[in-house]
Amino acid sequence: MGRPADMHRTFGVHVLTKGRMRWKETTMTMDATAAKKQMTVTYEYNGQFFPDAVVPNQQIEASWHKALQHFAISPADARSQNLGLFLNGNPVDRHQSFASAGITENATLRIQPLVQGTGQR
Protein backbone atom coordinates (compact mmCIF):
# COMPACT_ATOMS: atom_id res chain seq x y z
CA MET A 1 0.00 0.00 0.00
CA GLY A 2 1.45 3.38 -0.92
CA ARG A 3 1.43 6.55 1.07
CA PRO A 4 -1.85 8.36 0.41
CA ALA A 5 -1.72 11.44 -1.79
CA ASP A 6 -4.46 13.28 0.08
CA MET A 7 -2.73 13.81 3.40
CA HIS A 8 -5.40 16.19 4.60
CA ARG A 9 -8.17 13.66 4.56
CA THR A 10 -6.48 10.39 5.27
CA PHE A 11 -4.50 9.70 8.37
CA GLY A 12 -1.76 7.16 8.57
CA VAL A 13 1.29 6.13 10.48
CA HIS A 14 4.48 4.31 9.73
CA VAL A 15 4.43 1.04 11.64
CA LEU A 16 7.16 -1.50 12.10
CA THR A 17 5.91 -5.03 11.46
CA LYS A 18 8.28 -7.98 11.58
CA GLY A 19 11.22 -5.69 10.90
CA ARG A 20 9.62 -3.95 7.90
CA MET A 21 8.35 -0.40 7.88
CA ARG A 22 5.02 0.06 6.13
CA TRP A 23 2.35 2.72 5.86
CA LYS A 24 -0.87 1.94 7.66
CA GLU A 25 -4.01 3.93 6.92
CA THR A 26 -6.74 4.44 9.42
CA THR A 27 -10.42 4.93 8.73
CA MET A 28 -10.34 8.32 10.39
CA THR A 29 -11.00 11.23 8.06
CA MET A 30 -11.11 14.97 8.55
CA ASP A 31 -13.46 17.35 6.80
CA ALA A 32 -12.25 20.63 5.32
CA THR A 33 -13.47 22.71 8.25
CA ALA A 34 -11.67 20.62 10.84
CA ALA A 35 -8.48 20.71 8.75
CA LYS A 36 -8.47 24.52 9.03
CA LYS A 37 -9.37 24.75 12.71
CA GLN A 38 -7.00 27.06 14.58
CA MET A 39 -4.93 25.41 17.29
CA THR A 40 -1.76 26.14 19.22
CA VAL A 41 1.31 23.97 19.23
CA THR A 42 3.75 24.89 21.97
CA TYR A 43 7.37 24.01 21.39
CA GLU A 44 9.45 23.14 24.43
CA TYR A 45 13.23 23.46 24.30
CA ASN A 46 15.77 23.67 27.11
CA GLY A 47 13.15 24.58 29.73
CA GLN A 48 11.57 27.29 27.58
CA PHE A 49 8.35 27.45 25.58
CA PHE A 50 7.27 28.97 22.27
CA PRO A 51 3.61 28.85 21.17
CA ASP A 52 2.68 28.93 17.50
CA ALA A 53 -0.82 29.25 16.05
CA VAL A 54 -1.31 26.66 13.31
CA VAL A 55 -3.99 24.65 11.53
CA PRO A 56 -4.02 20.84 11.23
CA ASN A 57 -3.39 20.73 7.48
CA GLN A 58 -0.33 22.99 7.74
CA GLN A 59 3.11 21.48 7.19
CA ILE A 60 5.06 21.05 10.43
CA GLU A 61 8.33 22.10 8.82
CA ALA A 62 7.50 25.83 8.54
CA SER A 63 6.31 26.01 12.14
CA TRP A 64 9.37 24.06 13.31
CA HIS A 65 11.66 26.62 11.65
CA LYS A 66 9.86 29.45 13.47
CA ALA A 67 10.41 27.65 16.76
CA LEU A 68 14.11 27.08 16.06
CA GLN A 69 14.52 30.75 15.21
CA HIS A 70 12.87 31.68 18.51
CA PHE A 71 15.35 29.47 20.37
CA ALA A 72 18.30 31.00 18.44
CA ILE A 73 19.01 27.73 16.65
CA SER A 74 20.49 28.23 13.18
CA PRO A 75 19.00 26.80 9.97
CA ALA A 76 22.07 24.58 9.69
CA ASP A 77 21.11 22.93 12.96
CA ALA A 78 17.56 22.50 11.69
CA ARG A 79 19.03 19.93 9.32
CA SER A 80 21.02 18.30 12.10
CA GLN A 81 20.40 14.64 12.67
CA ASN A 82 20.86 15.31 16.37
CA LEU A 83 17.78 17.46 16.99
CA GLY A 84 14.58 15.53 17.44
CA LEU A 85 10.91 16.52 17.64
CA PHE A 86 8.73 14.59 20.06
CA LEU A 87 5.06 14.39 21.02
CA ASN A 88 4.44 12.66 24.34
CA GLY A 89 7.81 10.97 24.07
CA ASN A 90 7.22 9.69 20.55
CA PRO A 91 9.30 11.00 17.63
CA VAL A 92 7.42 13.15 15.11
CA ASP A 93 8.40 13.22 11.44
CA ARG A 94 8.29 16.94 10.69
CA HIS A 95 8.08 16.40 6.92
CA GLN A 96 4.31 16.10 6.98
CA SER A 97 1.27 18.07 8.11
CA PHE A 98 0.19 18.29 11.73
CA ALA A 99 -2.93 16.29 10.84
CA SER A 100 -0.87 13.57 9.23
CA ALA A 101 1.14 13.37 12.45
CA GLY A 102 -2.12 12.97 14.37
CA ILE A 103 -1.99 16.49 15.84
CA THR A 104 -5.45 18.03 15.48
CA GLU A 105 -5.76 19.96 18.71
CA ASN A 106 -3.50 21.97 21.03
CA ALA A 107 -0.32 20.10 21.78
CA THR A 108 3.17 20.48 23.20
CA LEU A 109 6.04 19.41 20.99
CA ARG A 110 9.43 18.90 22.51
CA ILE A 111 12.66 19.72 20.68
CA GLN A 112 15.67 18.03 22.19
CA PRO A 113 19.04 16.53 21.29
CA LEU A 114 19.10 12.80 20.66
CA VAL A 115 22.54 12.36 22.14
CA GLN A 116 25.13 14.59 23.82
CA GLY A 117 28.73 13.62 23.63
CA THR A 118 32.22 14.86 24.34
CA GLY A 119 35.72 13.63 23.76
CA GLN A 120 37.80 12.20 20.98
CA ARG A 121 35.98 8.94 20.27
Binding site: A72, S80, V115, Q120, R121
Partner: protein, 151 residues
Protein backbone atom coordinates in the same frame (compact mmCIF):
# COMPACT_ATOMS: atom_id res chain seq x y z
CA UNK B 1 27.21 41.05 23.38
CA UNK B 2 25.21 39.85 26.40
CA UNK B 3 26.43 40.24 29.95
CA UNK B 4 28.60 37.50 31.49
CA UNK B 5 27.13 34.55 33.38
CA UNK B 6 27.69 34.94 37.09
CA UNK B 7 28.98 31.93 39.04
CA UNK B 8 29.40 31.95 42.78
CA UNK B 9 32.78 30.57 43.94
CA UNK B 10 30.88 27.90 45.89
CA UNK B 11 29.02 26.72 42.80
CA UNK B 12 32.22 26.63 40.78
CA UNK B 13 33.85 24.56 43.51
CA UNK B 14 30.89 22.17 43.57
CA UNK B 15 31.12 21.71 39.81
CA UNK B 16 34.84 20.98 39.82
CA UNK B 17 34.39 18.63 42.81
CA UNK B 18 31.75 16.70 40.86
CA UNK B 19 33.93 16.47 37.76
CA UNK B 20 36.93 15.29 39.80
CA UNK B 21 34.94 12.82 41.88
CA UNK B 22 33.15 11.22 38.95
CA UNK B 23 36.28 11.16 36.78
CA UNK B 24 38.53 9.87 39.58
CA UNK B 25 41.54 11.05 37.58
CA UNK B 26 40.90 8.34 35.00
CA UNK B 27 37.74 9.28 33.08
CA UNK B 28 36.05 12.28 31.51
CA UNK B 29 32.91 13.72 33.08
CA UNK B 30 30.31 16.27 31.97
CA UNK B 31 27.86 18.51 33.83
CA UNK B 32 25.25 21.03 32.69
CA UNK B 33 25.15 24.40 34.46
CA UNK B 34 21.62 25.74 34.99
CA UNK B 35 19.98 29.11 35.59
CA UNK B 36 16.41 30.18 36.29
CA UNK B 37 14.60 31.35 33.16
CA UNK B 38 13.93 34.69 34.89
CA UNK B 39 17.65 35.21 35.56
CA UNK B 40 19.48 33.36 32.80
CA UNK B 41 22.78 35.15 33.43
CA UNK B 42 23.02 33.89 37.00
CA UNK B 43 24.11 30.26 37.32
CA UNK B 44 22.23 28.58 40.16
CA UNK B 45 23.19 24.92 40.03
CA UNK B 46 24.21 22.06 37.80
CA UNK B 47 22.95 18.73 36.54
CA UNK B 48 25.20 15.70 36.42
CA UNK B 49 23.72 13.49 33.70
CA UNK B 50 24.07 9.73 33.57
CA UNK B 51 26.85 9.33 31.06
CA UNK B 52 29.08 6.65 29.68
CA UNK B 53 32.54 6.87 31.15
CA UNK B 54 35.97 6.46 29.58
CA UNK B 55 39.33 8.22 29.57
CA UNK B 56 38.61 9.89 26.25
CA UNK B 57 34.85 10.42 25.92
CA UNK B 58 31.44 10.76 27.50
CA UNK B 59 28.02 10.13 26.07
CA UNK B 60 24.58 10.99 27.40
CA UNK B 61 21.75 9.00 25.83
CA UNK B 62 18.25 10.04 24.81
CA UNK B 63 16.48 8.69 27.89
CA UNK B 64 18.53 10.79 30.28
CA UNK B 65 18.30 13.87 28.06
CA UNK B 66 14.52 13.37 28.12
CA UNK B 67 14.60 13.17 31.93
CA UNK B 68 16.66 16.36 32.09
CA UNK B 69 14.41 18.25 29.65
CA UNK B 70 11.43 17.30 31.82
CA UNK B 71 13.23 18.48 34.95
CA UNK B 72 14.12 21.80 33.34
CA UNK B 73 10.53 22.48 32.30
CA UNK B 74 9.20 21.50 35.71
CA UNK B 75 11.62 23.80 37.53
CA UNK B 76 11.49 26.68 35.01
CA UNK B 77 15.22 26.46 34.41
CA UNK B 78 17.50 26.21 31.41
CA UNK B 79 21.01 24.96 30.70
CA UNK B 80 23.36 27.90 30.15
CA UNK B 81 26.71 26.13 29.89
CA UNK B 82 28.14 22.62 29.66
CA UNK B 83 31.38 21.76 31.41
CA UNK B 84 33.43 18.66 30.74
CA UNK B 85 36.92 17.37 31.40
CA UNK B 86 39.74 16.11 29.21
CA UNK B 87 42.54 13.75 30.23
CA UNK B 88 45.24 16.14 28.99
CA UNK B 89 45.01 19.67 27.66
CA UNK B 90 41.71 21.45 27.25
CA UNK B 91 40.36 22.18 23.77
CA UNK B 92 37.20 21.62 21.77
CA UNK B 93 37.31 18.38 19.79
CA UNK B 94 35.23 17.70 16.68
CA UNK B 95 32.98 15.45 18.78
CA UNK B 96 32.54 18.26 21.32
CA UNK B 97 31.52 20.48 18.39
CA UNK B 98 29.05 18.01 16.90
CA UNK B 99 27.16 16.93 20.00
CA UNK B 100 26.42 19.85 22.35
CA UNK B 101 23.53 19.57 24.77
CA UNK B 102 22.11 22.93 23.63
CA UNK B 103 22.17 24.11 20.00
CA UNK B 104 21.32 27.78 20.61
CA UNK B 105 23.79 30.27 19.21
CA UNK B 106 25.91 31.73 22.00
CA UNK B 107 25.74 28.58 24.15
CA UNK B 108 28.92 28.17 26.23
CA UNK B 109 31.06 25.05 26.56
CA UNK B 110 33.88 24.97 29.09
CA UNK B 111 36.56 22.27 28.99
CA UNK B 112 38.82 21.61 31.98
CA UNK B 113 42.19 19.86 31.54
CA UNK B 114 43.67 16.97 33.54
CA UNK B 115 40.28 15.47 34.51
CA UNK B 116 39.52 18.74 36.35
CA UNK B 117 42.44 18.39 38.78
CA UNK B 118 43.68 21.92 38.04
CA UNK B 119 40.30 23.63 38.20
CA UNK B 120 40.06 26.56 35.82
CA UNK B 121 43.82 26.68 35.25
CA UNK B 122 44.35 25.81 31.59
CA UNK B 123 40.60 25.74 30.90
CA UNK B 124 39.24 26.29 27.39
CA UNK B 125 35.99 28.15 26.67
CA UNK B 126 34.09 27.88 23.39
CA UNK B 127 30.94 29.61 22.13
CA UNK B 128 28.42 27.90 19.86
CA UNK B 129 28.05 29.51 16.45
CA UNK B 130 25.52 27.09 14.96
CA UNK B 131 25.81 24.27 12.48
CA UNK B 132 28.17 22.24 14.65
CA UNK B 133 30.74 25.02 14.93
CA UNK B 134 32.20 26.46 18.13
CA UNK B 135 34.46 29.50 18.37
CA UNK B 136 37.29 29.47 20.92
CA UNK B 137 37.52 32.31 23.40
CA UNK B 138 41.04 33.64 24.14
CA UNK B 139 42.01 33.28 27.79
CA UNK B 140 42.17 37.04 28.37
CA UNK B 141 38.52 37.36 27.27
CA UNK B 142 37.04 34.82 29.70
CA UNK B 143 35.79 37.59 31.96
CA UNK B 144 33.51 38.77 29.16
CA UNK B 145 31.63 35.47 29.49
CA UNK B 146 32.08 34.45 33.14
CA UNK B 147 31.86 36.54 36.27
CA UNK B 148 32.91 34.64 39.38
CA UNK B 149 31.47 36.45 42.36
CA UNK B 150 28.96 36.00 45.15
CA UNK B 151 25.46 37.38 44.87
Amino acid sequence: MSEPIRFSPALLESITDQLRTCGNNEAECVVYVTAANETPRKADGFIHPRHSRSAVATEVALDDLTRIWTELSATNKRIVCQVHTHPGSAFHSSRDDELPVVHSNGFLSLVLPAFGQTGLVGAHLAVYKGGGRFSSVPGDELSEFFDIADG
